[in-house]
């Protein structure tokens, strides 16, 4: 599971002023549940997830992934986590199988076991036909599958999907949703970030809406709809975007 408390990450802007990309956010993600991070581009979702993935260091606050602090034990955290992001590319000059094998070996999986696991995973993700295709010849959907296979190969308890459907067609996206649901049913703790409301509404048990680096609303989807008196998450989001001050008050008041 993941505990995030008052997490802040500041960058310097072009004029050398510190600007928080993530501003004191807190949330918890539980095993067997999908936690959604919803927000427009630049809301701080990717930064938050990169901190969880130990690629960035927080300016302040804590993030604990499956019992390990991301600052103190980054290597342990990475072992507990599968990270799928629009930014994590795959090697152009490696085949799908080689790529997944490489990351499996980096996770210290024994050679024989790893080969079996790859076969199983490729079948499950319907990747068997593309096992010898080079990265440079793959379509976006194929690449995304390899990314997912890479993230799942060591069977991590925590999975992070960052804008994972961007660039995918609807069929490929549906396959991804199925994988996420499958992993949820296997008891994984999943963090799913997206700017597409319908995806989040469909997949996530609990959602945090981010705006300008802050979590402006948090709760289960029905809770959010009820609090804001809207019919769908998209309208909730518009309502929040129009009245960020009110959102903050509600968040402080504790919509739980």
């Amino acid at each position: 599971m993941i505990h995030v408390r008052r997490l802040t990450k500041s960058y310097a802007d072009a004029e050398s002023r510190q600007r928080p990309a993530v501003d004191g956010i807190s949330f918890d993600a539980m095993p067997g549940r999908v936690f959604g991070l919803l927000g427009p581009n630049g809301a701080g979702k990717t930064t938050t997830l990169r901190i969880l993935g130990t690629v960035l260091k927080p300016t302040s606050g804590t993030a604990i992934v499956n019992g390990f602090n991301v600052v103190d034990h980054p290597e342990h955290v990475r072992r507990q986590m599968g990270y799928v992001s629009v930014n994590t590319a795959i090697y152009d000059r490696m085949t799908a199988w080689e790529m997944v094998y490489f990351f499996g070996r980096l996770n210290q999986i024994d050679d024989g076991l790893l080969r079996q696991q790859i076969d199983w995973l490729f079948e499950r993700l319907q990747m068997t036909a593309m096992r010898d295709t080079l990265g440079s010849r793959m379509s976006t959907g194929m690449k995304q599958k390899v990314s997912i296979a890479r993230a799942l190969i060591h069977d991590p308890p925590v999975l992070v999907f960052d804008e994972a459907t961007s660039g995918l067609d609807v069929l490929a996206a549906r396959e991804l949703f199925r994988t996420v649901e499958d992993m949820k049913s296997r008891g994984k703790c999943i963090v799913y970030s997206s700017h597409i409301m319908s995806e989040v509404e469909r997949l996530c048990d609990r959602v945090a809406i981010m705006l300008g680096g802050r979590v402006v609303a948090q709760g289960t989807v029905p809770e959010l709809l009820e609090t804001w008196g809207q019919r769908n998450l998209e309208d909730v989001f518009y309502a929040i975007a129009d009245q960020p001050e009110l959102a903050r008050e509600i968040a402080c008041g504790g919509v739980r």
């Binding site: 004029e15 690629v55 152009d92 980096l106």
Partner: protein, 766 residues
């Protein structure tokens, strides 16, 4: 044609390129910095042009004619070579040749390989690099021109560096001597200078200058063909290996670091459980493989081509120059040399590549990398550079010299220096790898999307931060400005030869090249100049302790200077220049004048610039020790000559510690003035010293004045205690002047932050 569109496109491209840091760097910054930096590097290199004297064993000196003289008492006669050249030839004179000729007749007359080695061993035992034998009395008549029997026989070993150099020098001397001989033969009454109007002598002169030493001398090369071959290849092969390894390492390194960043796969790799150092070492390994492969394939291809080319066409002359193909052992050693070379260049290239955000940017770093490593590759090619403790400690140079000695078969030398060379090599690789790891951890490098650079923003930022104080970038800028001005003044200003001119010149140069840039930047960038320069506070205790430390450190620093001078001996030219300088200083009217020029003025000006502006700008890093190190590096670099730079670095470290501890510039000025002053006074103790204090100040065996051993010991002890006090653990910069500039770090700040990462952090990041 719509000219408005042309103009619009033109303006857009212009603005676009002006916002590209790489274009700005290559078009504007590079040309401005390149030549001063190259010039400064060449000046540093010049201190390695130190010619070693060679010894000639003259056998049968009594057979030489009295006039024109060939030999002086200790060296060759005046006029046969320049004064400097004559100083480099030492003589061992045996009057009679009979014994030598009897003993070595077998070697001199026939091919006796074992005998030749024995003869060379005998020469080495006597410390001689060359034997010049005059077997019988020389005939001073015209008939000697027809005589084909040589008068002087030179015996040397061309596979030995010293012996070869000795032979070259001696042949030059013989050529000038032969000119004189001929002149004397044709103008027995002449002054010794050949008459220009005499056509007969003119002809003969022409003949003789065509082959100046022919007829007069014959030479016997003791080198075995294989070792002569090894010697001729021993210089070329290490250089080739270095160049091949560098080119082989660079492009894979760029692709493996900057290229992966660009393609996004680096983030994928970094989010795997592999640690940063594991990733860096893995990448280094693969870069090394490509580097070694490049070198070996080049070697093979070059070998095959050369063999085919030379055997098929009339290029035997070229082959003769290198005395045949390299020996098998030389090739084996070259293969071995690719390992350290590829490790070094692989690590350097990775360090450059890890710094780049894209492969295009990475390729721009090839030029600076070559600029840094080329001089290191050139040093071993200089004729007088040998494998010594000093040279073995220089990265790249040490490796090249080590392998040169291996190829030449000087295994005793190799065994002596393989340790230091390996240690330096490993240390360089470790530093480079740590840098790569740091870059992998550096978010600015990994995720900064924009490479745009706006001059306007930069200038605005410079003035906006004015109220709080200068930053790391400003410190480096000031340092570079001082270096360029110092270099420029070194080139364009020749030292005056009388004291008044010299003193005012030194004073003005210190003021203009060091003090003015720092003052200018202080006024421009700081709203509280006095505070920035630490002139706003003063403590008497600190002042007294600083003076005491300067006095007590004198013996230790003197010993250290001696050590540096032994490791990296000063070139003859510099010694000569220094001697000229001493002559000027001797004509100073009083000790006070000398102290003012050499102690007071440098202390004030250099402290204002280095411990004042630069150190305090570096203090924006909030790690005082790193600020001290960086300031001392610049302080050392500003001293121009490598030996002085090393010593100045150490003195700069002490000064930096004092500055940080006391937060005041005055103790630094006092320390600096006392340190310089004491050196000046001790150097002229003969002239200005106080008699009757032998217990305190004595003359050392080498003629210099210094503190007596007992006093020096006590002083060093006190110095240690004082330093410990200045360095005491709870030291905390009492209200650092510099601000912690929040901003996108520039190159300088990134390097300093990386250095920071070597010291345990006191701040808790969460």
């Amino acid at each position: 044609m719509n000219w408005t569109n042309c103009r619009l496109v033109f303006r857009r491209e212009l603005v676009d390129q002006m916002r590209d840091r790489r274009t700005l760097f290559t078009v504007f910054v590079m040309p401005l910095l390149l030549y001063p930096i190259l010039g400064a590097l060449m000046m540093q290199l010049a201190s390695f042009f130190r010619e070693h004297p060679t010894t000639v064993w003259v056998v049968g000196a009594e057979n030489l004619p009295d006039a024109p003289p060939l030999l002086d008492a200790e060296t060759v006669a005046t006029g046969l070579a320049s004064d400097a050249g004559r100083r480099l030839i030492r003589l061992q004179i045996d009057d009679s040749a009979t014994g030598f000729l009897q003993r070595w007749a077998g070697v001199l007359e026939q091919e006796d390989v074992a005998g030749r080695q024995k003869l060379f061993a005998e020469m080495r035992k006597r410390g001689a690099d060359l034997v010049a034998i005059v077997p019988r009395p020389m005939v001073m008549e015209h008939s000697r021109l027809l005589d084909e029997q040589p008068d002087v026989l030179l015996v040397f070993d061309s596979s030995n560096d010293n012996s070869r150099v000795a032979a070259q020098r001696w042949q030059f001397v013989m050529a000038s001597w032969q000119q004189r001989l001929l002149t004397r033969l044709f103008h027995p009454q002449g002054s010794g200078e050949p008459g220009a109007d005499d056509s007969a002598s003119g002809e003969n002169r022409a003949e003789s200058s065509g082959s100046p030493v022919a007829g007069l001398t014959a030479s016997l090369d003791l080198a075995r063909p294989s070792s002569a071959r090894a010697a001729s290849w021993s210089r070329i092969l290490p250089l080739l290996v270095m160049v091949w390894c560098l080119t082989g390492a660079f492009y894979p390194a760029i692709d493996l670091c900057a290229g992966e960043k660009e393609r996004g796969t680096l983030e994928t790799l970094l989010s795997s459980p592999a640690s940063r150092s594991e990733i860096a070492i893995g990448k280094l390994g693969s870069v090394m493989v490509f580097s070694i492969a490049t070198a070996l394939l080049n070697l093979t291809s070059m070998g095959i081509t050369a063999a085919l080319f030379l055997s098929s066409s009339g290029f035997s002359g070229a082959a003769g120059m290198l005395q045949g193909p390299p020996t098998v052992s030389a090739i084996g050693l070259v293969v071995l040399a690719t390992i350290p070379a590829s490790a070094l260049f692989g690590a350097f290239s990775l360090a450059a590549a890890a710094f780049a955000r894209s492969s295009k940017e990475g390729q721009y770093y090839l030029i600076p990398l070559i600029m840094v490593t080329m001089p290191l590759m050139v040093i071993p090619m200089l004729p007088s550079v040998r494998l010594e403790m000093g040279t073995s400690l220089i990265p790249v140079t040490g490796v090249m010299l080590l392998f040169r000695n291996m190829i030449e078969g000087n295994w005793s030398q190799v065994l002596m220096y393989i340790g230091p060379v390996t240690v330096v090599c490993i240390a360089c690789c470790t530093v480079a790898i740590r840098w790569v790891v740091y870059q992998f951890n550096s978010e600015e490098i990994l995720f900064r999307p924009s490479e745009r650079f706006a001059v306007g923003n930069w200038i605005r930022q410079m003035f906006r931060t004015r109220d709080v104080g200068p930053s790391v970038g400003h410190a480096v800028m000031c340092g570079v400005m001082i270096l360029i001005l110092k270099f420029g003044s070194g080139v364009f200003v020749s030292p005056s030869q009388d004291w008044n001119g010299f003193a005012s010149q030194t004073f003005i140069l210190l003021l203009v090249t060091i003090c003015v840039p720092a003052m200018f930047m202080t006024v421009l960038l700081s709203s509280k100049p006095l505070k920035t320069l630490m002139l706003d506070r003063f403590s008497l205790t600190h002042a007294v302790l600083a003076v005491l430390l300067a006095i007590c450190l004198n013996p230790l620093l003197g010993w250290f200077s001696g050590l540096v001078m032994r490791l990296y001996p000063v070139s003859d030219e510099l010694t000569h220049m220094a001697a000229g300088l001493l002559g000027v200083v001797d004509s100073a009217p009083s000790l006070l004048a000398i102290l003012f020029v050499f102690a007071v003025a440098p202390a004030i000006f250099e402290e204002l610039a280095f411990r004042g502006f630069i150190l305090n700008s570096f203090r924006s890093l909030s790690r005082p020790m790193v600020a001290v190190v960086l300031t001392s590096v610049l302080f050392g670099a500003a001293h121009g000559v490598i030996q002085q730079s090393i010593i100045a670095f150490v003195v700069g470290m002490v000064l930096g510690v004092i500055a940080i501890r006391t937060n005041s510039l005055l103790p630094c000025i006092l320390f600096h003035a006392t340190h310089n002053g004491l050196s000046v006074v001790l150097a002229r103790w003969d002239q200005y010293g106080i008699a009757g204090i032998d217990w305190l100040i004595q003359r050392a065996p080498d003629g210099t004045w210094g503190f007596s051993p007992l006093t020096a010991g006590v002083m060093s002890l006190i110095a240690g205690l004082l330093l410990a006090w200045f360095l005491r653990p709870e030291w905390k910069p009492a209200g650092s002047v510099g601000n912690i500039v929040a901003g996108q770090p520039g190159i300088a700040r990134r390097i300093s932050l990386w250095l920071n990462s070597w010291f345990p952090s006191r701040q808790v990041s969460r």
